[in-house]
Amino acid sequence: MATDCALKSQLKSMIVERLFLDIEPTTIADDADLMKVYGLDSVNLFEIVVGLEEEFGLSLEDTDFCLETFATVENIAAFVAAKRG
């Protein structure tokens, strides 16, 4: 659970930093719809994809590109955890 929280926290910081959001990372709810609440567009999603690769050491496959995966911090965290095995 602690690892799960740390991962979500890392993800929130990465999202706030890479998207230049003027908010505290902790204010992002785990289950907040990122596209609806924060108005994420293709440029923002691309930044998140690159962030996952560069900062989390993931290599995304074609099948990883699924809207549901990037919908919330909770989903992204589950995706990262699964990729890390």
Binding site: R18, F20, S42, L45, D62, F65
Partner: protein, 278 residues
């Protein structure tokens, strides 16, 4: 406030190129000038406003600027599909010669953004007569650059095609001989030349001052930019600035312009004093 005059010019050469000269009203002695090297495809379009603002800002600081369109882009003749990065390096060299002669420049530099940064490095090496280099978020590795384009295409398709989104189709389209680069048709030759770009391996020390600017959300420049700056033997800086080449819209590039202006002023002062800048 901008002080100077702008005029559309034609840069002579095998292919006459369209350019805009930003001339200073108060010319410094010795006369300094910068030739701008644009980024690639959609990034050029998105960055246009910032490049114009930059030219005006540097001009107000006493440095004349020449912006121009590579062959096959903007208002220069030719088809985008037929043009290649190697030809654009030749275009930069032609623009350098034109700027030096027309503006009677004693010090002439290249300012390149993204792919234009990588082309500027090659043009500086080929021409052998560039006095300084400014590289804004240069493309350092061509394969990674193309890989990012594929990811951008996947993200866009994922957002726009809904249930019909098929990542394999996007990848296949990206692998075709003539492929889509963010809305632009790009030839196999251009792809191969971009793929071959690797500034980490190919760069040799630049004899004049150089500045690599990492445009980032972080306070410190990333490893790639630091490594490139070391290889060139120059400076590196991190500027907190959104990637304005990724979207069309109003951007305030103050931090980027200030950082570059301060560095240019340091180089001018050092040259007058006859010593290298810190």
């Amino acid at each position: 406030m901008w002080h100077g005059h702008e005029s559309a010019v034609t840069i002579p050469g095998r292919v006459p190129l369209h350019g805009v000269l930003h001339g200073c009203c108060e010319v410094t002695a010795p006369a300094w000038g910068l030739v701008f090297c644009d980024p690639f495809a959609e990034e050029k379009k998105c960055a246009h406003r910032v490049m114009v603002e930059a030219a005006r800002a540097f001009c107000a600081a006493g440095i004349s600027c020449l912006r121009f369109d590579y062959r096959g882009t903007g208002d220069s003749p030719g088809e985008f599909l037929d043009a290649t990065p190697e030809q654009w390096v030749q275009d930069i060299c032609a623009a350098l010669d034109y700027a030096r002669e027309t503006l009677q420049l004693e010090v002439v530099g290249l300012l390149g953004l993204r792919l234009g940064g990588a082309l500027a490095v090659q043009a500086a090496r080929d021409s052998g007569s560039v006095n300084l280099l400014v590289l804004w978020e240069p493309v350092i590795n061509g394969k990674q650059y193309l890989g990012h384009n594929l990811r951008r295409s996947l993200v866009k398709a994922m957002l726009t095609r809904g249930q019909e989104f098929d990542a394999r189709q996007v990848r296949q389209a990206h692998a075709e001989d003539v492929f889509d680069f963010d809305g632009y048709r790009v030839s196999a030759e251009t792809r191969s030349q971009i793929e071959a770009l690797d500034l980490e391996q190919d760069v040799t020390p630049f004899p004049g001052p150089s500045l690599v600017v990492n445009i980032t959300s972080r306070d410190q420049p990333n490893d790639d930019c630091q490594q490139l700056a070391r290889a060139l033997g120059g400076s590196v800086a991190a500027v907190r600035q959104e990637p304005f080449w990724n979207r069309i819209g109003l951007v305030r590039p103050q931090a980027l312009l200030e950082t570059t202006e301060i560095w240019l002023a340091e180089q001018q002062a050092a040259r007058i004093a006859g010593r290298p800048a810190d």
